[in-house]
C-alpha cells in the first residue's frame, strides 16, 4: 500500500524484509496534541495513507472542523481552510463549485456534524456535492470537556448528563449516517471503527472507497468513524476500546450503509493497512 517495496525493485531482498511501514510524507512528523489513546491519530494516519495511495495530496483542499480535530492541518500537509462550527459541508461546497479539479475533504466530529451542523451536512448530501466527508463519532464533546453529544448513548454519563442520558429528557442518539444514506445524492455511506487492527483495516478500505467515489465523479461520500474518547468517557484507553467494541458498535452497526457507485466495487475488502503487501 504505502510501501516503496511495491514500486522499487531495489528494496526487494533483505532490506525490504525489514521495512514494515513507512510514514506517508503528507503525515507531518510531529507529536499530536490529542490525549493518550485517542482515535484521531489513527484516523489521520489512515487518511494520509489513502491520500498518498491515490496520489491526492497535491490536489487536496480540506476543511478543518471546530473541536479537537481543528488542528488537523498541523498533521496533514495539504491546503486547509477552517470552517465555523458545523459549517464544513457548506465551506466544502464553495470550494467544490469553484475548483472542480480539486479533491475536497471534510473532517468533522459528531457535535460538529450531527448537532450544530445538521442542516449543512443534510443539504450538502442532498445536493450530491462531490465531497468526501470523514465523520468522527466518539459520542461526546471532547474539546469542551466531555459534554453530551447528539450521539451519546442512552444512559451514558457525561458532564452535561451527569445522571446518564435519559431518553425522556434528552432524546435518543442519532444515526445520522443512516439518515443521510436515504438521500439519492449520497453515493457512498459507511461506518467503520478504530477499535482494533481488523476494524482499522476495514475502515481504511471504506475511506479509500469514499475517496475513489469522488475521483470517479460520484456524489457525496461519507465515512462515519466510531472512535473513542478515553478522557471524556472516564476510561483507560484499553477500557474505551472495549466499550467501543461493545455498546457503541451495538448502537451504531458497522458496515457499508449504501453504495450507489459501480456494483463491482460495492464491498470494501478487509485489508490490513500497515502490513507489506504479499
Amino acid at each position: 500500500m504505502t510501501l516503496d517495496a511495491r514500486s522499487s525493485g531495489a528494496l526487494r531482498g533483505a532490506a525490504a524484509a525489514r521495512l514494515v511501514y513507512r510514514k506517508p510524507d503528507v503525515l507531518v512528523d510531529r507529536a499530536t496534541h490529542y490525549c493518550p489513546g485517542c482515535g484521531h491519530g489513527v484516523i489521520h494516519r489512515l487518511l494520509a495513507e489513502v491520500l498518498t495511495d491515490l496520489d491526492l495530496p497535491a490536489h487536496t483542499i480540506a476543511v478543518a472542523p471546530v473541536g479537537c480535530a481543528v488542528f488537523i492541518y498541523d498533521y496533514l500537509d495539504v491546503d486547509f481552510v477552517e470552517a465555523p462550527h458545523g459549517r464544513a459541508p457548506a465551506v466544502a461546497t464553495g470550494i467544490r463549485r469553484l475548483r472542480p479539479e480539486a479533491f475536497v475533504l471534510t473532517y468533522q466530529g459528531d457535535g460538529d456534524l450531527a448537532a450544530i451542523g445538521t442542516a449543512e451536512i443534510v443539504h450538502a448530501a442532498a445536493r450530491g456535492e462531490r465531497i468526501t466527508a470523514i465523520f468522527v463519532n466518539n459520542g461526546i464533546y471532547g474539546m469542551t470537556g466531555g459534554q453530551m453529544a447528539p450521539t451519546t448513548l442512552l444512559g451514558q454519563r457525561t458532564t452535561s448528563s451527569p445522571s446518564g442520558r435519559d431518553a425522556g429528557l434528552m432524546g435518543y442518539p442519532i444515526r445520522i449516517t443512516e439518515m443521510l444514506a436515504q438521500l439519492p445524492g449520497v453515493t457512498y455511506a459507511a461506518r467503520g471503527s478504530v477499535a482494533d487492527a481488523g476494524s482499522i483495516g476495514r475502515l481504511k478500505a471504506m475511506i479509500a472507497r469514499a475517496c475513489r467515489v469522488q475521483i470517479e465523479g460520484g456524489g457525496f461520500a461519507i465515512v462515519e468513524v466510531l472512535s473513542n474518547c478515553p478522557v471524556g468517557w472516564g476510561m483507560t484507553p484499553q477500557e474505551s476500546l472495549e466499550h467501543l467494541k461493545g455498546p457503541v458498535v451495538e448502537a451504531y452497526p458497522l458496515g457499508v450503509i449504501v453504495d450507489r457507485s459501480a456494483p463491482s466495487t460495492a464491498r470494501p475488502a478487509a485489508a490490513a493497512p500497515t502490513k507489506p503487501e504479499a
Binding site: E82, P84, V91, E120, H123
Partner: protein, 391 residues
C-alpha cells in the same frame, strides 16, 4: 477597466446591483431567498449559469455565507446578498472571514426590524453593519450608495476593497434602493485580478496553505489582532469616502446616507428657497466613517441634523466626530416609513430656532459666528468632496 457599454436603461435596484457584480467579475454567488432582495438572487440564478459561473441557492443564510467563505478561500471573486434577518445569520461567518482574511462581498438590502419586523425600507442595521455582526475585534468596510447608479459603481469598489485588504466588505441599500427603478447608465467596471499568494488551490509544487482564525497562544493571537488593527487604520486612511453638497456657505448641514440622503436633498432645496444656508454631508463609507472631514466641517456650522430611517444610530458617530462643536439634532422614521422632505424641513427649522435661542441667551449673533476657520470654510470643502472622493 471600463467595458465601454454606455446605454441608459431603466433598471430595478436589486437587478442593477446583481448585474454590476457580474460585470465586476463575480465568479460565484450564494444566496437564500428573502424580501426585499429576492430579485437579486433571481437575477443571479438566471445570469450566472448563462455565463458558466457559479450560482447556488443555499439551505440557509448560514449555508450561503459559508459556501462563500469556502469559494473565496480558493481565490475566487465571491458575493452573497440578503436582507437584515439573513445578515444576522451571516454574522458568525463574517467574524471568521475577518479573522482569516477571506474576501467576500455582502449586500444587505435592509428592511425594518427588530425580529422579523417588516419588509419596508430601513436603515436600522447601521449598528450591525458598522459595529456589530460577529464576535471579536474586527471591522468591515461598509459602502452606502444613495442611487442605483452609485450602487452599481460601488459593487466594483466592494470587490476591489475586499481583495486589496483581504476582508469581507458590505454594501448596504434599503428596500427603496432595492425595489425602485431608476434610469441608469450601463457603465461597468471590472477590477483587475490579483495573484493571491494565500489562495487554496492544492499544494502542488508549493508548501501547503492554511486559512484559519484560531490561535490558542495569546501572544500569537494578539499579534494577529494587531496586524488586523493596522489593516483597519490603513483602510480608514485610504478608503474613507463621502460627498458634500451645497456645503460651501452652509451654516447648517444634514448628515444622511442612502435613501435618507435623497430625502435630505429635497429638504435642503426647500430650505434654501426659504433662505436657510443648508448643505448635505453624505457618508459613502459608513465604516470607515468620515469623522475627520465631518469634524472639520462642523467648525463652520451652527448645527447639524442627522436624518436616518432608524431611531438614530449613525448619529452616535456624528456626535463623536463633532465633539460638541455644534448642536446635533435628529430626525428619523422607523418601521419601514420614510421621512418626507417637509418633515425634515420642519426639523431643520426647529434646530435653527434652538440654535438662535441658545445664541441669543449667550450673546452670540448667528450671523457673526466665528467658529469656522478660513482653510476649511467656503468652496474648498465642496471641491474636495466630490462624489466618491476620498477623505
Amino acid at each position: 477597466m471600463e467595458t465601454g457599454r454606455r446605454a441608459r436603461v431603466l433598471m430595478k435596484g436589486n437587478e442593477a446591483i446583481a448585474e454590476a457584480a457580474i460585470q465586476a467579475g463575480c465568479d460565484a454567488y450564494f444566496g437564500y431567498p428573502i424580501t426585499p432582495q429576492a430579485e437579486l438572487l433571481e437575477w443571479m440564478a438566471r445570469r450566472m449559469p448563462e455565463l458558466g459561473r457559479v450560482f447556488v441557492q443555499a439551505e440557509s443564510e448560514l449555508g450561503a455565507i459559508n459556501m462563500a467563505l469556502g469559494a473565496a478561500a480558493t481565490g475566487a471573486r465571491v458575493m452573497v446578498s440578503s436582507s437584515s434577518p439573513g445578515i444576522s445569520l451571516m454574522a458568525e461567518a463574517m467574524s471568521y472571514m475577518a479573522g482569516s482574511g477571506t474576501p467576500v462581498v455582502l449586500v444587505n438590502v435592509m428592511r425594518a426590524g427588530p425580529g422579523l419586523g417588516g419588509i419596508g425600507p430601513s436603515q436600522s442595521d447601521y449598528f450591525q453593519a458598522t459595529k456589530g455582526h460577529g464576535h471579536g475585534d474586527y471591522r468591515v468596510p461598509v459602502l452606502a450608495p444613495d442611487s442605483i447608479g452609485e450602487a452599481m459603481d460601488l459593487m466594483a469598489t466592494a470587490f476591489e476593497l475586499a481583495e486589496r485588504y483581504r476582508t469581507p466588505v458590505m454594501l448596504v441599500a434599503d428596500g427603496i434602493l432595492g425595489q425602485a427603478m431608476e434610469p441608469v447608465e450601463l457603465r461597468f467596471r471590472t477590477p483587475e485580478r490579483q495573484a493571491f499568494d494565500w489562495a487554496l488551490t492544492g499544494a502542488a509544487g508549493r508548501p501547503a496553505r492554511i486559512i484559519k482564525s484560531i490561535d490558542l497562544d495569546p501572544e500569537v493571537l494578539e499579534r494577529r489582532n494587531l496586524a488586523l488593527q493596522h489593516k483597519y487604520r490603513e483602510i480608514a486612511r485610504h478608503e474613507t469616502r463621502w460627498e458634500g453638497w451645497r456645503l460651501g456657505d452652509a451654516e447648517f448641514a444634514i448628515v444622511a446616507y442612502g435613501t435618507a440622503a435623497r430625502v435630505a436633498r429635497s429638504a435642503i432645496a426647500r430650505a434654501r428657497d426659504n433662505g436657510m444656508k443648508v448643505g448635505l454631508f453624505r457618508p459613502i463609507t459608513l465604516w470607515p466613517f468620515p469623522e475627520r472631514e465631518l469634524a472639520r466641517m462642523s467648525r463652520q456650522l451652527h448645527g447639524i441634523l442627522t436624518v436616518e430611517l432608524s431611531s438614530g444610530q449613525m448619529i452616535e458617530d456624528v456626535r463623536l466626530a463633532v465633539e460638541g462643536r455644534c448642536p446635533v439634532a435628529f430626525h428619523g422614521r422607523m418601521g419601514g416609513l420614510v421621512p418626507t422632505p417637509d418633515e425634515v424641513l420642519g426639523a431643520l427649522k426647529a434646530l435653527r430656532g434652538r440654535v438662535e435661542r441658545t445664541r441669543a441667551a449667550s450673546g452670540h449673533s448667528p450671523a457673526a459666528h466665528d467658529r469656522g476657520t478660513p482653510s476649511t470654510n467656503g468652496a474648498g470643502l465642496d471641491a474636495g468632496a466630490r462624489p466618491g472622493g476620498r477623505g
